[in-house]
Symmetry: C2
Subunit: 467 residues, 2 copies
């Protein structure tokens, strides 16, 4: 597929590669297979190979790599698990992909303070596995088993955000290697601070364009006393969305509420071998004390019934819950696999909750008129939802159609005072929409980028065009 | 008192004043009384007069003022209610104080989306008064009836932050006049977004150094079904702090938990005509459903008893609650008034909750060895507490002693991985400590400041030295 973010680039200087080899030895990789792995992505963007891949094993490795790259004016692109879906880690101007996956240590758990510090390459599932005996958990859950550093960089959120917030709220402090090769710590472990500019939040969501994150201090939460999951099918899409909106407006502290439309349920049934009724369905999770959960459930069940929802199918057993949420997490793969030899093309928007029914039903109508199979799913408690297209990559017509539907979707969300991306990031796919959304505020972002990365070497070509 | 943040400055150009008069007419003020009001502060910092005061009535007024000031290279300092306590709004290099207090309109309440948009000069008490019939409230409560814009600028928090977060979490979006005279909106009304750099959070806490905030979109919260307040005295300071730490570590979602030490209770009794036992006391507030509040209270009462706490004195009536919290809010004035002709000198730190008992008891010992009357009070659920000294402003010895105690307090907090200011901001008082706390990260802040405000005209001399 064509994207116009690829740039003609000069061949890499062999002397620079030799510098890398001298410093990094066997951590430097130049094989086609390795370059391809770091140049590809889980979505529809073109593969663009880096010139080299370096596996960092310490902050010092990253410092030295940054200094070498900056001195040679070579781009440097951080790479975590490669699970982002707006082309966020594709090295569109070549250079060095720095793989942080081996920096995956859990450095410290402060059970008394509900926090921990991990290296950027630690994955969220491994962190939760490690935390299991502490009674704490890390709630942010974008579906994929992403690295924490990657989740910081894209300001990830996911299924638990409606209750526990996004990476914006989850990060207490970062260790960052800046473009001038300094190692900074953006904040202390204090729960709150008024000490200067909020550099932590500046780096959260900056997609590797302002430096390389090597360590992350995270807030954790106590595992709730009671966790209860339920699935509920609805006669109509409107009924499902109205149930969510009314639950949120009633102040119910839902831990998770996910929508899967009829098409998505069909795909999930096939992929995860379930037999859910093939109608628009909500997946709920309730957290709290036994009494608190009972209060929440009673209210939400009544709202669902009033909106044409069926009976709640409950699972309080952790294995059943795990199966249900595994199916939800694999929904993206399910949606793409539902059409043989299709590729995934996904988008996400987020609107104020009062506008969600209108936004989602208009979008569904648009999808029903399209020839490309597509599903809707999302974290509707936040007003956030995704569309996943299963596209024939050989069909220019289909690609054009998907682009047009995406354009109408984003324009619809912006007209409703929403955002062009709730959680995927801007990456390569949403750059024009970012300008549409925030106008001259993007100029302020550019000023900051130029000041901190004057040679435009850190994940260049992402979020906005600089030139 | 001497501060070394005052700079020799050239006299203002009369032609510039004429430009202001032409554009702003009667909104321009040059009387000594008006200059004095905008050059003074609620704490111990020297009065430094601005050259002029302009009352802005619209974003357009601010744009024009910014353009005039930048063209003439005259400093511009935003002024809200004047309730900040680190000298944050003192115009140490002169120039124009822009008073936003008349931009106090509540522009929109989105009851369905739990949000609202206000002009920067709106005060928090007026906002809550306005919201009363909606069933929603704005929880951030720093004590003083500050303007929302001022609270954004200092990243204020206060009594409810342990449950509802600080201004960092409360702000959805800002309208800002940038140093180049553009009006930007930093985000949409979507509850979450991954669209580019988090300019909202960059401006929250930037103390007017990066532009002038003119409108704020805020998250609101449903007024809880049940609100219950209690006061509990303790035999020891340790017992009170341990009760807080254990409550937090047990996951109790306290809405408020404030400590007032014996000295502070004595001052509050005198000021607010109460007769609380003069021992270290916790003020609690519990929010939730009737069942949820009962669960919280049972747990916290048991912890308090185990830690040498007395009986809980309850007030579920809103007038009684209001009286209690009014006394808490006036604690600063009470502490200063307790010593005739003293001035207030206050400081605040925040540490990880596990270190709070040690930090607060060591501090108390230091205060007991001092000749200057001082009280401890704070938002201990966050690990945040204040010391208020009632200083004789004519005594150089006392001032030196207070400075030394403050230095030891901040060093203690930093050694415990805490911050030099939990909520007051850096202003004039914490600049050296900011560097001690964050080291080279402050250089990154300076790079951002220079890039966005190249002539150093926006509240110059605050947060960090640029030169």
């Amino acid at each position: 597929m064509h994207i116009d973010h690829c740039f003609a680039r000069p061949p890499i200087d062999p002397a620079f590669i030799e510098q890398l080899r001298t410093r990094f030895g066997t951590s430097l990789h130049l094989t086609q297979a390795m370059l391809h792995q770091h140049g590809s992505n889980e979505a529809h963007f073109d593969v663009v190979l880096p010139d080299a891949v370096v596996f960092a094993r310490s902050t010092e490795d990253v410092v030295d790599l940054v200094r070498l790259c900056v001195a040679a004016r070579v781009p440097i692109v951080p790479f975590g698990a490669g699970t982002s879906i707006e082309g966020n880690a594709v090295p569109v101007r070549g250079g060095v992909s720095v793989n942080l996956g081996e920096m995956n240590a859990i450095l410290r758990v402060g059970a008394e303070d509900f926090d921990c510090t991990v290296q950027a390459g630690c994955r969220r599932e491994e962190l939760n596995e490690h935390l299991r005996d502490t009674g704490l958990f890390f709630p942010i859950d974008p579906g994929a088993n992403a690295t924490i550093g990657g989740m910081v960089s894209t300001r990830a959120s996911g299924t638990n955000a409606v209750r526990y917030g996004t990476m914006r709220e989850a990060v207490l402090s970062l260790k960052v290697v800046t473009p001038d090769g300094k190692v900074i710590t953006t904040a202390t472990r204090a729960r709150k601070s008024a000490a200067g500019y909020d550099l932590t939040r500046l780096y959260v969501g900056s997609e590797g364009t302002l430096g390389i994150i090597t360590e992350v201090t995270l807030r954790l939460h106590p595992i709730p006393e009671t966790i209860s999951s339920a699935v509920c099918g609805f006669q109509t899409l409107e009924g499902a969305v109205d149930t969510v909106v009314q639950s949120i407006q009633s102040g119910v502290p839902l831990a998770r509420v996910e929508i899967l439309d009829d098409m998505q349920i069909r795909a999930v049934n096939a992929w995860s071998k379930l037999s859910l009724p093939e109608v628009t369905t909500l997946f709920f999770e309730f957290h709290g004390s036994p009494g608190g959960v009972a209060e929440q459930v009673a209210l939400v069940e009544a709202l669902a019934t009033a909106n044409g929802g069926g009976d709640f199918a409950w699972s309080n057993l952790s294995e059943e819950r795990a199966k249900l949420w595994k199916a939800r997490h694999e929904a993206y793969y399910a949606a793409v696999a539902f059409r043989p030899s299709a590729v995934g093309w996904t988008t996400d928007v987020c609107v104020p909750i009062s506008r969600l029914p209108e936004c989602i039903t208009e979008t569904k109508r648009d999808l029903q008129a399209s020839s490309v199979p597509a599903t809707i799913l999302g974290h509707v408690g936040d007003g956030n939802f995704h569309v996943i297209f299963a596209v024939d990559p050989a069909s220019a017509d289909e690609l054009a159609e998907v682009q047009a539907i995406n354009g109408r979707l984003v324009a619809r969300a912006l007209a409703m005072e929403g955002t062009c991306t709730g959680e995927h990031g801007v990456g390569l796919g949403k750059q024009e929409w970012l300008v549409e959304e925030l106008g001259e505020a993007v100029d302020v972002m550019r000023v900051i980028k130029r000041a901190l990365d004057p040679h435009d070497l850190f994940n260049p070509g992402k979020i906005f065009a600089l030139h």
